[in-house]
Symmetry: C2
Subunit: 192 residues, 2 copies
Amino acid sequence: MMRSPQSLRNGGVEPHPDPHFHSTVSLRKLRRLNALIFVFRLAAFSFSLAAAVFMLTNIRGSSPPHWYDFDAFRYVVAANGIVAVYSLFEMGASVWEISQGLTLFPEALQVWFDFAHDQVFAYLLLSADSAGTALARALKGMNTCAANGPFCVQSDISIALGFAGFLFLGLSSLLSGFRVVCFMINGSRFHL
Amino acid sequence: MMRSPQSLRNGGVEPHPDPHFHSTVSLRKLRRLNALIFVFRLAAFSFSLAAAVFMLTNIRGSSPPHWYDFDAFRYVVAANGIVAVYSLFEMGASVWEISQGLTLFPEALQVWFDFAHDQVFAYLLLSADSAGTALARALKGMNTCAANGPFCVQSDISIALGFAGFLFLGLSSLLSGFRVVCFMINGSRFHL
């Protein structure tokens, strides 16, 4: 509060008692941060949805191999699906916050919810994509890829999209971690 | 400073100007936190070292399979080795801090160094262990495990030890994250 120009103009009296008062500089910075978080969430959503769809459609008629024959590929679909749903929800929460100026949940819950889920789902997605990579490499050593080239190529694309999703989820996690620290220092998501 | 009993006993004068002054309660809490971090580091070191050694010794004479024939198992050895070396270094830094009362690096650098490396190496180790799990499952579907049961069992044990190492590294990461937040709020690792 001490840094806002209004409190200085008041000539040394107590800072504005209204807790909903925020300087325009803080508001502008907060809006920029929220826009950046929204962009990262959109990218994470797009990549993880694309990864899940690419793996789900990795079936050519009724002949094997199918993606659901392999544990690691099922894990890739599940993890990317979960991250896509979560990112969609967080995009909704982000739009709500930008348009209404209020967080969806109470502020303390919201910042911790975002950060904790970002972390857990980032670990989940990295683990699934690593498992998928290891399986894809093992399949290349077997006859599967020689007989079914397109199956292996489509798996590789799906896993690469999943890693891109992980990258943007990790960036979101950094920003939501920053929000947690700001909240703990200032007791508000304003004042960056 | 306001909460320490000495400043209250001083009858409203300025808090103690010495920056190296800390109440005994803070010191006791800090010592307990440091001891907990040391225990987690020791556990992470033991498990990741054991995982690396189990995988490295997974050779039976000169006949294949060897662990180094598989990318994912090489990744498991490398990640567990890196985490073991890092944990050993951090144990040294922790002992130094407990015995000398000073951090090895300047305080701001130390708390960020610990947290950043804990995070990165936790992701690395989880990724390696997931890749190892996927490969181990793929090998079970092939003839490798039927012909070489002990090779597969020893790989499984190594990967399981790696996951235990990841668990303790994750716990260290939580505590070092807590230290970063305390440092940012108070400008000191004292005052918990």
